[in-house]
C-alpha cells in the first residue's frame, strides 16, 4: 500500500533525552489520523519534523512513497503540507485576508492585487465552509475564528496534508464541534489530516485511525473503529486508568467562603471590569466548580480572593473578614491555593524541592525558631511529601525547575494539601498533566471534600468540572451568569452557557 505520508525510524534527540525514538508513522490518503500521547510524549516534536521546523537525527520522511528532505517549513509547504500550530502565528493588526495571503500574495504588475486577493480568500472560505469575515481585523476575532484563519492560510497554499497540533485545547465545546465539521469537510474534499491531541473522546469521535506515542515511541497503531477507549489509554499510559471519579453525594456543612459583590476594575479606564460584581458562597464538604472559557475573569477572581490582586467587595473566610488583608493573613485564616500556573506562580524554577515545599510555612514553629530555620526538619518534611505524593525527583535538594509538568504539579499539590486548610482553591489543577496523574489529582480533590473541606475548583476542562463539581457556577465576561447543580449539568448545556448564550439554554 502506498501511504500518503510515512516516516521510518524517525528519531530526534535533545541531549540525552530521546524525544522521538524510531517513530514509524503511516498515514493513508484522505483520512483523519490522530496522533495521541500524554504531555511530553513527543507529538509536537514529530509534527515539527514533518513540517520542516526541526531536523530529524535519523530516519526518513516519505511523501507518497518518495523520500523528502525538509530543510524548512517552506520546503514542507511546497510539498503540500500545512500546519496549524498550538500557538497561532497571526498579525493582529492585519485583516483576515491579508494574513492569509501574507508571503504568497497575488501580484499584478508587481503590485499586490488587493481585490483579487480578497475575493480569492473569500471564495476559498466559502468552498470549505469556513465562516469567516475575511475583511475583519484579526485583533477582533475570537480564538475559534483565528484558528479558521490559520486553516485558511494552509488551504490557500494548497495544503494536501494538514497538521493540527492540539487544536481543541483553546476552544469551547461549540467551537470544537465547528472545527470537527470543518475537518470532516476537508476529509470529504480528499485532504489528509493529522490531528494531534491528548483527549480521548476526540479521537473516538473524529478520527479514522490513531497512532499512540509513549515516551517518544510508537506504542500502538490502530483503526479507531476497531479499538476502544481503554485500549488507547493503556497504550498511552501503559496501564488502565479510571477516568470517571467515583464519589458519593456531597454533604455540605457550614459556610467556609463567602464573597460579596467582588469587583476587579479594568486596568484601563472605561473598559469593563475584569470581575464584575461577583458573589458566591462555598460550604464545607462541597466542591464548587467555576466553568468558563479561559480569559473570562476567573484568574482575576481567584487572585482577588487569594489577595494577589486588589479588589473591591467583601470576602469572608471561615467567619473572618479577609478583604484587604495580606496573602499571609488569608493563608493563616485557612486557605490553600493551587494556582493555575505552577511554574510562574506555584514554584520557582531555581528553588530546591525543600524550599519550594516550604513556601507558606516558613514561619511555622515546626520549621523555624526565632527566625532561624531548622534545616533538618525542613528536609524531613520535604522527604515525607515527596514520598507521600510519589514525586519523581532525584533528591529533596534538587531544583524543581528540572521536573516535568506533572511532577511539578505534585510538588504544588503536596504543599498545599499539607496545609490542611478548610478552603482549597484549585485552579486548572490538571492542566498539562498526564492522564494517569489526572486520576490521582481528582481523587485527592474528592478526598479533600470528604474530609469536610470546601474546594473551589476553576477549570477550563469541562469533563473536570462535570466530573467533580457538586455545584457549578458559570463565569462569562467577568460575571457569574448561571448556577446549576453538578448532577444536572450536561456538556452541551454548559458549553452554551460558557459561550454566554443564556437565552438558548432557557429555551
Amino acid at each position: 500500500m502506498q501511504w500518503e505520508l510515512e516516516t521510518t525510524g524517525l528519531t530526534k534527540r535533545y541531549g540525552r533525552l530521546v524525544a522521538n525514538d524510531a517513530v514509524d508513522l503511516r498515514v493513508a490518503a484522505g483520512e483523519v489520523h490522530a496522533v495521541m500521547g500524554e504531555n511530553g510524549a513527543g507529538k509536537s516534536t514529530l509534527m515539527s519534523m514533518l513540517y520542516g521546523l526541526t531536523r530529524p537525527d535519523e530516519g526518513a520522511i516519505l511523501l507518497r512513497g518518495q523520500q523528502v528532505r525538509l530543510a524548512s517549513s517552506l520546503d514542507a509547504i511546497a510539498r503540500g503540507l500545512g500546519m496549524v500550530h498550538q500557538a497561532f502565528k497571526l498579525f493582529e493588526d492585519l485583516t483576515v485576508w491579508e494574513n492569509v495571503v501574507y508571503g504568497a500574495e497575488p501580484r499584478r504588475f508587481g503590485f499586490l492585487d488587493r481585490r483579487s486577493a480578497c475575493t480569492r480568500v473569500q471564495e476559498l472560505a466559502q468552498r470549505h465552509h469556513l465562516a469567516v469575515d475575511v475583511r475583519a481585523r484579526v485583533r477582533d476575532l475570537s480564538v475559534g475564528i483565528r484558528q479558521r484563519v490559520e486553516i485558511l492560510k494552509a488551504l490557500y497554499r494548497d495544503a494536501r496534508i494538514l497538521i493540527l497540533d492540539e487544536p481543541t485545547a483553546v476552544l469551547t465545546p461549540q467551537e470544537r464541534d465547528g472545527l470537527f465539521a470543518i475537518i470532516r469537510a476537508l476529509r470529504a474534499d480528499g485532504r489528509t489530516i493529522l490531528f494531534v491531541t491528548h483527549k480521548l473522546h476526540e479521537v473516538m469521535e473524529l478520527t479514522d485511525s490513531v497512532t499512540v506515542l509513549r515516551q517518544g515511541r510508537v506504542s500502538a497503531r490502530m483503526r479507531t473503529a476497531e479499538t476502544d477507549a481503554d485500549a488507547i489509554i493503556r497504550a498511552m499510559t501503559g496501564r488502565s486508568v479510571n477516568l470517571s471519579v467515583a464519589r458519593s453525594p456531597a454533604t455540605p456543612g457550614a459556610e467556609i467562603l463567602r464573597v460579596e459583590a467582588l469587583r476587579v476594575p479594568a486596568p484601563v479606564r472605561g473598559a469593563k471590569p475584569l470581575v464584575d460584581d461577583i458573589s458566591l458562597s462555598l460550604r464545607a464538604g462541597e466542591i464548587v466548580g467555576i466553568a468558563g472559557v479561559a480569559g473570562n475573569g476567573q484568574s482575576e477572581l481567584i487572585e482577588a480572593i487569594t489577595g494577589l490582586r486588589a479588589a473591591e467587595g467583601r470576602i469572608h473566610l471561615n467567619g473572618q473578614e479577609i478583604s484587604g488583608r495580606s496573602v499571609a493573613a488569608r493563608r493563616a485564616a485557612g486557605m490553600a491555593y493551587v494556582p493555575e500556573d505552577r511554574a510562574l506562580t506555584g514554584t520557582a524554577a531555581g528553588a530546591r524541592a525543600t524550599e519550594a515545599l516550604l513556601m507558606g510555612r516558613q514561619h511555622d514553629p515546626a520549621f523555624a525558631r526565632h527566625g532561624v530555620q531548622d534545616g533538618a526538619a525542613i528536609a524531613a518534611h520535604a522527604r515525607d511529601l515527596i514520598q507521600a505524593h510519589d514525586i519523581r525527583i532525584t533528591s529533596e535538594r534538587t531544583r524543581v525547575g528540572t521536573l516535568s509538568g506533572g511532577n511539578l504539579q505534585k510538588v504544588v499539590l503536596a504543599r498545599e494539601l499539607d496545609f490542611d486548610a478548610p478552603l482549597l482553591i484549585a485552579e486548572q489543577p490538571t492542566r498539562g498533566v498526564d492522564v494517569g496523574a489526572i486520576e490521582a489529582i481528582h481523587a485527592r480533590l474528592v478526598a479533600e471534600r470528604d474530609r469536610g473541606h470546601g474546594v473551589l475548583l476553576v477549570s477550563a476542562e469541562l469533563s473536570e468540572i462535570l466530573g467533580l463539581s457538586d455545584r457549578i457556577l458559570v463565569i462569562y465576561e467577568g460575571r457569574l451568569i448561571a448556577e446549576l447543580p453538578g448532577a444536572e449539568a450536561t456538556e452541551q448545556h454548559l458549553g452554551l452557557l460558557m459561550a454566554g448564550r443564556t437565552q438558548e439554554v432557557a429555551r
Binding site: 540525552r16 496573602v327 499571609a328 510562574l344 506562580t345 506555584g346 514554584t347 507558606g360 527566625g371 530555620q373
Partner: protein, 341 residues
Amino acid sequence: MHRLALLRPHPVLMAILTGLVFGALLLLLSGQNPLRAYAEMVRGALAPRNWNNTLVWAVPMIGMTLVAALPLRGGMVNLGGDGQLVIGGFVAAMAAIYLPLPGPLLAAVAILSAMLAAGLYAALAALGQTVLGIPMLISSLLLSYPAIGLTSWAAGFPLRDTATGLAQTLPVPEAARLPMLFGPVSTGVVLMALVAAVVVWADRRSVPGYELRMRGLNARFARYGGVPTARQTVTVMFLSGALAGLTGAIIVLGTHYRFINGALVSPGYTWSGLMAALLAGGEPLMAIAAGFFFAALQTGGFAMQREIQVPRVLSMVLQAIIILFVSLRNGRGAARKEDRS
C-alpha cells in the same frame, strides 16, 4: 549532557580568562609586554608585603559589594550606594567630632548612627517605590546626588577645617578612631568580616534570608507564598544602606580620620561592588570572593603602574570585560530558555 557539563569550564573562569586575553591584546597593541604587566599585577596584589594594601582596599570593596548583593539577592537593585556611603561617612565624622562621649563608646555610637542614617536614607528610596511607584532603580540613584552634594557643601563651607584649606571636616578625636591591627589595617577589617559572616549566615539559614532568596528566584512565587514584598523591600534597602553607612564609617574612622570631600566616592567602590555582586548573581559568599578579586585587581593595578608605568586603568578594563562576558552568557542563557517554552 552531564559529562559535557563537567568538561565545560566554569563560565566565570571563562570570563576571567577572556578578560585576561583581551587585556593582553590591549597591552600588546600599546607596545607593552602583557606577561610582565600581569606578573606585576599579581605581585602587587598578592606578594606578602602587599597584603596590607589589598586588605585596606578590600574592606570597603567588600562592604559595598554586600550593599549591592543584598537587594540583588531579592531581584532588587540599589544604585544609591554612593549617597548612602557619604551619608555614613559624614554622620560618623559628625558624631565622633561633636558628641561628648568617652572613648570606645564614641566609636560605637558613631558607627551605629552612621548605619542608622544611611539605612534610613536608603529606605527612603524603597518607600519611593512601594508608596509612590517610582522604580527603585531610579529613586535610589536620584537620592544619591543630593546626599553627595549636601555633604560636600557642608565639608566645604560650614564645617570645614579652616586649618587645612581643603574641603574636609575637622579630624575625629583619637578616641573615636578604630584601633590599628597591623600596618595600615584597622580593626575595621574585623568588623567587616563579622558583618560579612552574618550576611552569609542569614542568607542561608534565616527565614528572612529564605524569603529574600525565593523572591529573587521568582517574585510572584514569593508573593503567592505570603512574603510581604513591600515591607521586605523597605527592610532590605534599610539594611543595604546600613551596610553602606558602616563602610563609610570604617573608612572615616579607620583610614581618613575625617570626612574628606569626594574621598569616599572617587575610588568607585559602589560601582565595582555592584559589578562584583552582579558577577555572583547576588549570592553573598561568591559576591565577597568577587569583591576580593576586584580589590586585588585594583591594588595590583596600582603596583603595575608604579613599577612599570602601565596605566592602572587596565584593571578597570579587565573588570569591565569580565562583567561583560559573564552577563553576556547569562543574558543569552535566559533568552534561550524563553525560546524553548
